[in-house]
Symmetry: C2
Subunit: 468 residues, 2 copies
């Protein structure tokens, strides 16, 4: 973007320079400025910086600070910061902030949040801390939160907000508008009105835009959409995200076991879930539990080493396979030079297939209705790539070591391993999913173990059989 | 979920069994049923199955079909299918459907779509096909689409819809509601009203829920929120997604170079972008360009082989390094057995760090404000893990081959490679991002090349120096 276009872009009125970039990310200079101010203990200046910022940007700023800097800001300026900042913070940083706040301050902050946001903050606390905060809250709100916390983690019950607009089926557009003009305990933002029958079961919804377009005497039941996508309280949040995405929803009614309306889930919470789930899958495929960007050294090591231990195990397994052929390698040392190629190609081809499969399973694009077609395609791709790379690698090995039989052996091993990679890349994630194990978390380890073991075994085994 | 809870869940009224699962995914049995019907050429029965389905579920069903089955459905039943299905289809399947439709049918379908959806369909067509369709559209709509297509791909201009509700700054709540009740060219769904000044520049917005809560005589300018997050026409769609996510928006105004309101982006389009971007990053890290679940064999091979060729190149590079030490391996064959362990651990530890970095860069959580802190942490993690796994692996190698000096060599190589992994996992993606290359696409190849080459070189080099 050219410089001349900047003047029509939104600017925050912090008189000096822009603190929010053109793409709405936080200017690194702002973080530097705040850091300097904190070093010089000019806490009032920091307050002036924070004042015009959106709460989401304040959260970003806090995430950039070191523990000591964070402590200075929270201790000195918490009363000037919107409590909602807690919901915008990364979990690791939120925990730090919560530790810095006393129970009194935290209780007040929680009481200012919508119920769904409050539950999110509560989830991270241990039971004792939860209890300490709950005991300081007004009784009605306390009961509400306690109830929310009884729902399973990552369920619709935790995600929903209890504040909602419920319209009896007899009301007209006019009555509804009048009710809303007089009522003062409505949620901050809502996008649909849910119509319930006398048993409090949702029977339809009307988007607000339709309410505004309709004349006063018309009954809501006449303009409502009855194709409701009900969300059961116990539905998994990934399935909630799927439902919103599939049907383009902006809000959806949550119902209890007997079908009564108990809450509403809105798109903002769902976007958060979509982000979290995508991040989790990415991290699991990368061999981590979750992103640890904001975790300190110790937490990071503690979270990552178990995965490395598992990898060490599979690497040792591969070494054991190689160990079976020590005698062969001793005689034809070219085998040691070439053997990583077969294993590496298998691992990469398999990872390609695996990645497609894991994502498709997560997005419900891969099911028993098309699994065999997918497996079949990947098998054919494996055969084709196997032959293709067998020819290339075989020719290369022949040229390199001047022995055509080494080319033949590596070519044959390549075909075997790329077919195994195609099958492993499909069958492993589909199989794990079928038995209820998250395919993102365990597939990679299984797959690379298979392609390493088979890769080394096929190459060295064929060499032992035909070159000796 | 127990069986007894099913009766309060939504059911589609296709008299026999449920066709949509509890989690709103398509029942595999439904796909089977449709398949059988198609085989028996009972196209009317298929129509009855499609009839009650939401258009998103119809799209899923079409995605599950083979090319021949798809042809039967499109040729026979297109007139019964909502044109909007085009926007729900995966790009590969959409292309097939478009090929099956003639220009006349496609033109009619496009003319029924909102402008943003129409642009999405158009993007996939070649210029000649675009022209053929455009010439059949009404002039006004044609001009609108042609203009949208002049904006860069993946920009806000392509994402926005041109249909919107614009309110002059003088209007009251009552006037606004009256206007909407009489107007019949409003978009299907909208969530905010944008207030413009006489120059057509947005000066604020009012969420519909606030309009409904406010009494008729109140001016919109009195209740509007002036903290507008303006989206420039040329803003990248990833930045648009960031802006929505950051500020919890459900819709945002798009402005041209002089700041005039030209369109609106709504949350449903942003959710699609979030999904696409997350999927792309996942695929790139897995060594693919994009998901090819629905692509046929040839397309799949064509898209994946280049990545495998690159991988073959890096594998050969690693082999060349091993080749330097043929003499050493010939004398101590245990080295060939153990050498994959060092490379594999480096690759995995590096991938962990890399995954965190790539995701954090994509989410704008990693910037120059905290890059050094992150690099520093990963360096310390690398040193720690290096020492930890050096001890484990060293002891193991000693025990296995009965030679303590082999344990020392593998331990030292492990420390070196895990430090390199930590540095590579941070510096490579941050560096690529700094020079404007997508870190997701190229980081993995760079990193594994580095950890393989350094892994083999450190291990075999140290062995050559100290064991000979």
């Amino acid at each position: 973007m050219s410089d001349s276009s900047q003047d029509w872009l939104p600017k925050v009125d912090l008189d000096s320079e822009a603190v929010i970039e053109e793409d709405y990310s936080l200017a690194p200079e702002l973080v530097e400025t705040v850091r300097e101010m904190l070093e010089e203990e000019r806490i009032d200046s920091v307050q002036q910086v924070l004042e015009p910022l959106h709460v989401a940007d304040v959260a970003d700023l806090l995430e950039y600070l070191t523990k000591d800097e964070l402590q200075l800001v929270i201790k000195g300026l918490w009363s000037f910061i919107d409590s909602e900042v807690l919901t915008y913070l990364d979990a690791a940083v939120r925990e730090e902030v919560i530790d810095l706040l006393g129970p009194r301050q935290l209780a007040r902050a929680v009481s200012e949040l919508d119920s769904d946001d409050a539950v999110e903050v509560f989830e991270d606390l241990d039971e004792e801390a939860q209890h300490r905060i709950l005991s300081r809250l007004p009784q009605a709100y306390r009961t509400l939160l306690e109830e929310s916390l009884t729902y399973p983690e990552d369920s619709a019950g935790r995600l929903m907000q209890r504040e909602m607009v419920v319209i009896p089926s007899a009301w007209s557009v006019g009555e509804t508008i009048d009710h809303m003009r007089e009522s003062d305990d409505l949620p901050d933002d809502f996008y649909d009105l849910f119509i319930v029958n006398p048993k409090h079961k949702p029977i339809g919804f009307v988007p607000l835009s339709r309410v505004l377009r309709t004349k006063r005497p018309v009954r809501l039941t006449e303009i409502m959409d009855t194709e409701l996508k009900l969300i059961p309280l116990t539905m998994n949040e990934e399935d909630v995200a799927y439902t919103f995405r599939q049907y383009g929803l902006v809000s959806a009614p949550v119902v209890d076991e007997v079908g009564r309306l108990v809450g509403v889930i809105t798109i903002d919470d769902v976007v958060r879930v979509i982000d979290e789930v995508a991040e989790e899958d990415l991290m699991k495929l990368g061999g981590l539990g979750e992103s640890d960007l904001y975790n300190d050294f110790l937490e990071t090591v503690r979270a990552r080493s178990p995965w490395l231990v598992v990898n060490l195990g599979t690497a040792i397994l591969a070494s054991l396979v190689i160990g079976l052929f020590e005698g062969t390698i001793e005689k034809v040392v070219a085998l040691a030079v070439l053997m990583p190629i077969v294993a590496s190609m298998g691992g990469n081809a398999g990872t390609q297939t695996l990645t497609v499969a894991v994502r498709a399973l997560a997005m419900k694009d891969l099911s028993s209705a098309n699994a065999w077609r997918f497996i079949n395609k990947e098998l054919v791709v494996g055969v084709f790539n196997g032959v293709l790379f067998a020819v290339i690698t075989g020719a290369l090995a022949w040229y390199w070591f001047g022995r055509p039989e080494i080319g033949l052996v590596i070519g044959a091993a390549m075909v075997v391993n790329l077919i195994v990679a195609g099958l492993g890349g499909t069958l492993i994630p589909i199989g794990l999913d079928r038995v209820g194990v998250d395919p993102a978390i365990a597939s990679t380890v299984f797959l690379t173990t298979v392609t390493d073991v088979i890769g080394f075994f096929a190459f060295l085994g064929l060499a032992a059989a035909f070159l000796m």
